[in-house]
Amino acid sequence: MQRLFAIAFLTLRAAVRFRLVLMLSGVLLAAVIILPLIIKDDGTARGFTQILLTYTLSVITAVLGFSTLWLACGTLAREMEEAQMQMIAVKPIPRWQVWVGKWLGILMLNAILLTASGIALYVLMQYRATRLPEAQQTILRNEVMVARGSVKEPIPNYEEDVQRFTKARIAAAEGQPLDINAVTEFARERIKAQMQIVPPGYLRQWQLDLGIAKPFLKDQPLFLRTKFNVAQVSEGGTYTGLWEIGPTNNTAAILRRQMSLASDTFHEIELPPNVFDENGIVHVRFINQNQTAVLFPLEDGMELLYREGGFGLNFARGLVIILCWLSLLAALGLAAATFLSFPVAAFVSIGVLIVGMSSGTFKQIVEEKGISGVDHETGRIEKQDIVDQIAVPAAAGILKVLNLIREFSPVEKLSTGRSISWAETARAILQIMLMMGGVFAAIGISVFARRELANVKTFY
């Protein structure tokens, strides 16, 4: 370990001596201090804090992300090109320790910078919060600067219904040629729509189970977070509905409220304490009072939020997940630098990063079943060619890998006051740092261990 840490501290020292740390500290400090002065918000303390958190953390992540890639590529590729690595390779240190030492050094640097900028941001937010009126402070502490757990209704498995519907259609066709895939897809969308849509004058009910959190939520405020879409846009842009929230067996305890809300955006409705029944279930009913159908998405249309912990620790866990992302970028940069020259490694790494951020494109390829000739009526490719046949499974595979990383969204969770649990943090370390980072480490170490370090002409 002495050797490994020698490499790690050397990497850290290089960043300090080359004034990278100084420059990054300046940029990060500017992000924390200057951004709040220039960003526009909705005028509320909650909106301002949410935007501040989102923008500042995003900028910090982006700055550290690019500097990590740059440093990772530079520290290894340059040392090989300038032959300093030869001096290390002739010493009794296994090459995997050199690689891991470099990675550890970058991780330490990121941990220091992320902690410093995180503390600055946290202090700034707390300071600004104390200068707000009491009511605004309460809102902030209940909705943003808090760690809130959430419950949703489980998404029902409707595949059986889809199969039943498809079989019925095939039977009804009486031997006529039928595109079974198209019928199945149609059935799936139709059944899903039926579960989401609330037609005019109809009622939709949700049962949100607090589960084991119930004993801890007595006399605690709860928040309903909802979003809906509409079939036809109204003149005012808002849509009225009657909301009933509370236990079904105690009408006196039911909260009834008629609200006019905008579509396609999230709304948070504060609920009085103890609106759950003896089983810890919160019953929510919505009656559509509009002339158009309202659609609540199954994934995020209705969600109940409750206080789970304080903001400070939640914020720290969020930073740990960001650090996991940075550690992955460090592994990516180091892996590229083991067989590429510095500029090429940096270019390739940034290319991979951009591809990684294009998950929407891969999702689209999978949904459209190809990359060319989309039928504008169905929104899909009706006849796949060889390119589509290769692209779809490739995109699906990449998407699967990317989802291992993208399923964590610490910035969004922090800005919406959502809890980032210890389990989620541990999962991020496992999935992002160890599994994904491990893949890059395996590639990087394997190549690095086989390299002829004195044959610099083999670096491209």
């Binding site: 050797r3 020292r13 080359f18 030869q86 001096m87 390779a89 002739v90 010493k91 009794p92 002409k457």
Partner: protein, 405 residues
């Protein structure tokens, strides 16, 4: 001084036969991006290096010396052939703990100062903190960078970078020291000190491989050499084997009176024709003259650069416990340590005034014998030659440091 030094221990003859490096059929072909052969840098090379030897790799630029060195260090992989270093592959991690390497250029971290550089490399050898600190201090003093140890290596002159490079190569007290052009960029005093250090290391049973195209470096310190050209070994053997001219003899004496000279010449003319006799006055070489001038200047001038005439690190001398002796005395003692046979032979003169005489008698006896070429397959260092080398080193170092008081 010389006689006292002669009782110090040196490697035994058994140990001296131990192979530190064995190279068989070594070939290196560099290829282009498409795997097509581009250059045959080393071509079917065989040699062995034995413990305690100072082994020279000689050759013009691009002859394959550095490629061979880099294959010995595991920085390049042979296309064909086999290398063993201490009986293992050059890529064996544990073996590397016994090797010190000075590359042909400074490949050190420019942002570290001398102490940090040595501390870093000491860490790579897993040395404990106290040992790292102690060795770093001794090495910095030894290479004459005591006054510049706070400056970053990037600010150093080329010569100073060579000095700190040499120091890092010795931080682990290596059994095998591989030096690639060690005197490149050094001033004459630095060159002399490096050569003296090489001799000192060899006296402690260390094996030294010296790659150089500077013939004087190799001639001053090497026991055996190989001469490369075009990636192939063109010649190999001890310096005596390679350089001796067995059909001529040189006699050096103090200035003789004319009658004595006439007598000597008349005796010689009885057997040798006039045109084959040459008489001249020996001249001092430039290195010796330069060292004398600097030695005088040092007594009155100060310098802010690298200093010279410093003490060999105690752990490299192996006499850390005799710390009370003066530095000069220690270096001289080490450098003038005896050869095995001198210590072992009961008949050897121990009187301080007689070894030179004894040497001369031995030489004359040897010269009187018919010339018998030494087989090139026997690379054991010539012991008489070694004593001569050490005496020469001692004299030069004495002139550099002054006589111990």
């Amino acid at each position: 001084m010389i006689a006292n030094a002669s009782i110090e221990s040196t490697p035994t003859s058994d140990v001296a036969k131990e192979n530190v490096i064995a190279v068989r059929g070594l070939t290196k072909v560099f290829k282009d991006f498409w795997g097509r052969p581009k250059a045959r840098a080393v071509d079917n090379v065989d040699f062995e290096v034995r413990r305690g030897e100072v082994f020279g790799l000689l050759g013009p630029n691009g002859s394959g010396k550095s490629t061979t060195v880099k294959m010995l260090l595991g920085l390049l992989y042979p296309t064909k052939g086999h290398i063993e270093v201490f009986g293992h592959s050059p890529r064996d991690v544990q073996t590397k703990s016994r090797i010190g390497y000075l590359p042909e250029e400074s490949y050190l971290y420019r942002y570290l100062d001398s102490r940090e550089t040595l501390d870093f490399f000491g860490n790579l050898f897993a040395l404990p903190p106290d040992e790292r600190r102690k060795r770093s201090e001794q090495l910095i003093e030894m290479v004459g960078l005591g006054k510049a140890h706070r400056r970053q290596v990037g600010e150093f002159s080329k010569g100073m970078q060579r000095r700190i490079g040499l120091a890092q190569a010795l931080i682990n007290d290596p059994d095998l020291v591989i030096l690639d052009e060690p005197t490149a960029g050094l001033d004459p005093i630095g060159c002399r000190e490096v050569k003296d250090l090489i001799l000192a290391l060899a006296r402690r049973g260390k094996t030294v491989i010296l790659s150089s195209h500077l013939l004087s470096d190799v001639e001053d310190v090497c026991d055996r050499v190989v001469i490369y050209y075009g990636g192939k070994i063109q010649a190999m053997g001890t310096l005596k084997e390679l350089l001796a001219t067995p059909d001529a003899v040189r006699i050096t004496t103090p200035v003789l009176s004319r009658p004595v000279m006439e007598k000597v010449l008349s005796v010689i003319r009885q057997d040798v024709s006039e045109d084959k006799i040459r008489i001249d006055t020996p001249t001092q070489n430039l290195e010796g003259y330069f060292l004398g001038v600097v030695q005088k200047a040092r007594q009155s001038e100060e310098t802010s650069g690298a200093t010279s005439g410093n003490r060999v690190a105690a752990y490299l001398r192996g006499d850390a416990d005799t710390a009370t002796a003066s530095p000069q005395a220690k270096i001289l003692e080490r450098l003038t340590a005896p050869t095995v046979e001198t210590a072992a032979s009961p008949g050897t003169q121990s009187n301080m005034s007689t070894p030179v005489e004894a040497e001369q008698i031995k030489k004359l006896a040897a010269l009187a014998q018919p010339a018998t070429p030494t087989p090139s397959s026997s690379p054991e260092p010539d012991k008489v030659q070694k004593t001569e080398d050490l005496t020469k080193a001692n004299e030069k170092l004495s002139s550099l440091l002054g006589k111990p008081k």
